[in-house]
């Protein structure tokens, strides 16, 4: 089982963003690292200049790098950015909206978790179009994951295994709305919440988190206990999505469970210690409410 570090979804300070990836290069036991802005094109100019050095450092450390594209493309400048990203031959582009597919047709690329790949017909079409690897939508149950892995063994499949679940993307910026600003004059207030802004029910129950135009779960996805089952299905890699907790320790726990040095239960306990009070979710895997967590039954 390989490990992929997903792109940072939040608006982190450029220096913190850069130093995070330097630490990834030096210390994190992952095979693949995604770099790029997926959520809001307005954030990109702040760290665009340090992307080349980050990519270079990651590659020098032996990581495969993917350049992640924007998940919702509406503006002309966003289209141009996608077109220019798609000119890259190395590293590969990770496509998060079908917009990029017209530019990448026939050339190798990756498909990110924001493209709707629910069935073998779509997966086969994407494979013919040049997709080598696909991170599946987090909503998919294990029955679908299994059917996809069986139908298209040539495309490497990845599952969303750690971090807040990306549940929705909108034209509206909820951070700006909460701060009584408009999106065009947002003052980049999403930067105040480097792990997302928690949204609770009126009863104070934890529920969701907002990150600019994106809505996520407040829980962290955690499939560490499901690694043996996913590996048995032929899943090629687990995606870990950066949060503000110690991601090197998170990746180490996943690595240890995947390699059999820790039992799945020990892996979950290790993650509980790293993540503190944040509850975990893996309900989508079982076709249940995504918020649920089902512990591994003792063998």
């Amino acid at each position: 089982m390989k490990l992929t570090l997903g792109p940072v979804l939040y608006n982190w300070e450029p220096s913190i963003w850069r130093d995070f990836y330097y630490r990834v290069a030096d210390e994190m036991p992952v095979d693949t690292v995604c770099v790029g802005e997926v959520v809001c094109s307005k954030r990109l100019p702040f760290f665009q200049d340090v992307v080349p050095e980050v990519v270079e450092r990651l590659m020098r450390a032996g990581k495969e790098v993917l350049l992640s594209s924007l998940a919702l493309v509406t503006l002309e400048r966003e289209r141009k950015q996608i077109a220019s990203l798609a000119k890259e031959a190395d590293p590969l582009v990770e496509v998060n909206d079908v917009t990029a597919l017209v530019y990448l047709a026939g050339r190798p690329h990756a498909i990110g978790p924001y493209v709707n790949v629910y069935n073998e017909g779509t997966l086969a079409w994407l494979g013919r179009n040049g997709a080598r690897q696909v991170c599946l939508p987090p909503e998919l149950p294990v029955s679908s994951i299994s059917a996809l892995a069986t139908a298209c063994p040539d495309v490497a499949l990845e599952v969303w295994a750690f971090g807040r679940l990306p549940l929705a993307i909108s034209a509206r910026c909820y951070h700006a709305r909460l701060h009584k600003l408009t999106k065009d004059n947002c003052q980049f207030v999403c930067g105040k919440d480097p792990d997302g802004l928690p949204v609770d029910t009126l009863d104070g129950q934890r529920f969701l988190a907002v990150n600019g135009v994106q809505t996520l779960s407040t829980t962290y996805a955690n499939l560490i206990e499901n690694i043996p089952d996913l590996a048995a299905l032929g899943i090629a890699s687990c995606r870990l999505s950066p949060q503000t907790c110690d991601m090197v320790a998170v990746a180490a726990a996943f690595r240890d469970v995947a390699d059999g040095r820790l039992s799945p239960e020990e892996g979950r306990r290790a993650l509980s210690e790293i993540c503190g009070e944040i509850p975990f979710s893996n309900g989508f895997l079982f076709g249940k409410a995504g918020v649920d967590y089902r512990a591994r039954s003792p063998e």
Partner: protein, 325 residues
């Protein structure tokens, strides 16, 4: 501009046609359809009868097969496409790439419309569906302003259809799993959002709490009408504020924008609401018929033609007005 109207039942289809719809859209009674609600929708036989009724009166029928087929169970969706072709439907409305590939190859003569659930929000995304699957029309997601729509119509040969009235998705359509996060059932996979099967209302001392999948979505004071707990229109708490974090309980009414949408090059205007009653459909269709005919003929929209129709709800222009974002 064409007027495209919803029909959840055969009698609503006839009502919409009689009230002046240019086209009616509907779906089958199963999970191939994003309005997979109990008591709604069409059998293949009912669809064939509906198509015949509409064609006799010069109207079209568009069949929405707009969920994402389940892996390992593609046949249900293939059969829906087959049944729509057999019923002589005028077009099918699809969102899934794999299903589009099947339809384009099996029924090359059938008109393919790109569903709003595909969220094709720019000319490149639209080009993909046109070039690969010969799509003839795209229903735009509700994330674009009117000038942005105009830029899209200029940049594509594909016909453009937009929503003008009814329920409003706050999130980009087809890219939202809020409902399944709370309930296990989603628009993309099951054709339902915030499903009634997971809704409860609890009354204590005259106040009502509405819940979805165990999560409190809103609270209502005694005497206040308790709205349906659609997740993205719920009332929530953050460190900054308590309220409608995502969207107020509003619905879309873009009637005042009709001239602007015509100028933007829009081909068809769509009304949401396959779950609505026949009487509601009749009223909304008749009203929009008058307004669109006036705009098409260059007349002023008749005064009073567009009185609020949204049953007590407040209205919004949504993303058509840029500051909504």
């Amino acid at each position: 501009m064409e007027l495209i109207c919803p029909a959840g039942t055969p009698s609503s289809l006839r009502a919409a046609v009689d009230a002046g719809a240019d086209g009616v859209y509907c779906g089958f009674r199963n999970e191939t359809n994003a309005r997979n609600f109990p008591g709604l929708n069409f059998s293949p036989e009912e669809l064939a009868e509906g198509v015949a009724y509409a064609h006799r009166r010069g109207a079209k029928v568009l069949v929405a097969i707009n969920t994402f087929p389940r892996a390992g169970a593609l046949n249900l969706w293939f059969e829906a496409v087959d049944d729509a072709a057999r019923a002589k439907a005028d077009a099918i409305i699809l969102c899934d790439i794999g299903l589009m590939a099947y339809a384009a190859e099996t029924y090359p003569e059938m008109r393919l419309h790109v569903s709003v659930q595909a969220a094709a929000a720019n000319p490149d995304a639209i080009r993909l569906y046109v070039d690969e699957f010969n799509a003839k029309r795209v229903v735009l997601p509700r994330v674009l302003s009117v000038p942005e729509i105009a830029r899209i119509t200029r940049a594509t040969t594909c016909e453009v259809e937009v929503f003008v009235f009814g329920g409003l998705c706050v999130m980009a359509e087809g890219r939202c799993s809020l409902s399944s996060f709370a309930t296990g059932l989603s628009p993309n996979m099951n054709g339902v959002c915030s499903p009634a099967s997971h809704v409860t209302y609890e009354e204590t001392g005259g106040s009502v709490v509405s819940r979805l999948g165990g999560f409190t979505i809103n609270k209502f004071a005694p005497g206040e009408p308790a709205a349906y707990p659609t997740l993205c229109k719920g009332c929530f708490k953050t460190g900054l504020a308590t309220g409608y974090i995502f969207e107020d309980p509003v619905s879309l009414d873009a009637a005042t924008l009709l001239p602007g949408l015509k100028e933007a090059g829009v081909t068809a205007l769509k009304i949401e609401g396959r779950q609505r009653s026949r009487a509601y459909i009749e009223n909304v269709v008749r009203t929009f018929r008058e307004a669109i005919s006036a705009v098409n003929e260059g007349r002023a929209i008749p005064a009073g033609a567009l009185q609020p129709m949204s049953e007590g709800q407040s209205n919004t222009l949504g993303a058509y007005r840029k500051t909504w974002r």
